[in-house]
Subunit: 139 residues, 2 copies
DNA sequence: TATGCTATTGTAAAAAGTTGCAATAAGGAA
DNA sequence: TTCCTTATTGCAACTTTTTACAATAGCATA
């Protein structure tokens, strides 16, 4: 747990408290780098804080995502995964082999403007998931 | 079950069999019109075929979606819902109140072309989910 | 109509995710 | 340091979803 990451001040700024459970969960997400399922977070974070429980993991992930510290994404099936909210991006997933490609936000800007003006919604700029067949799986 | 719907020939054309379980499941989706969760499908379809079981419902929904008879969508949380694959559309969901708006495919065409040429993927044309705040919830 | 192949289903058990509520502890204030 | 407020957690029970495998039943063929 002696790593550069320290979310305590940012949490406090929004009225949230820093707890050993949250430290362990954020730590797991930080060091894994990519997307983690709640089960994976539970397994990893438990190494930092062994008395961690599942309800806490699910609630924390959902809450921190709502507060914009995390991003939730749907990758394929019906599974939800989380990652630290850092750079803005989207996903393109092959529903054959599961292979994923990151997509920049820039090419979506025009579409977003159109949808916002036609629907009145203010769109989130992160984590849209597209599905398709990768070049290998098209044959 | 005396309604116009008859999927048997289409199923057969792909090597799938028509069973009373599948009839009941398709019937439920047909008459409800919109999106149904697996649990909702289970409850509704059981009225047509009372010995239906959960594993069959989950497997059937996933399989029929894979075979393009159904569309799967993620609406908010981590929940997956299904509907009959008919018209091509996408969804825009308010993550505050849950309100949803259908989005035509046309405005996505340009983006799709760009993503296909930049990634080599062939994109699915159905059921992308965007999130945002509806006009009411922006205040 | 009877037969055979195999797609589909049910069973039973486990895994994953959710809920309500009482107990705990973070962190601001005295 | 101690106290207080209340955000956060653990517990226990429950619901939803998944899995492996043996039994069943579509439907093509004769
Ligand atoms: Mn991502
Ligand atoms: Mn839809
Ligand atoms: Zn692929
Ligand atoms: Zn709203």
């Amino acid at each position: 747990m002696t790593c550069s990451m320290n979310y305590a001040p940012q949490l406090r700024a929004q009225g949230l408290r820093m707890t050993p459970q949250r430290k362990a969960i954020l730590h797991a997400l930080h060091h894994s780098g990519g997307h983690l399922s709640p089960t994976q977070v539970y397994e990893l974070a438990r190494k930092e804080f062994s008395s961690l429980t599942e309800p806490t993991v699910y609630r924390t992930l959902e809450y921190l995502a709502e507060k914009k510290f995390l991003l939730a994404a749907h990758v394929g099936n019906g599974k939800i995964v989380y990652e630290l909210a850092q750079n803005q991006h989207h996903h393109l997933i092959c529903h054959q082999c599961g292979g994923t490609v990151q997509v920049e936000h820039a090419p979506l800007e025009l579409l977003y403007r159109q949808l916002e003006s036609s629907t009145g919604y203010k769109l989130d700029s992160s984590h849209v998931t597209f599905f398709g067949l990768c070049s290998d799986c098209q044959s």
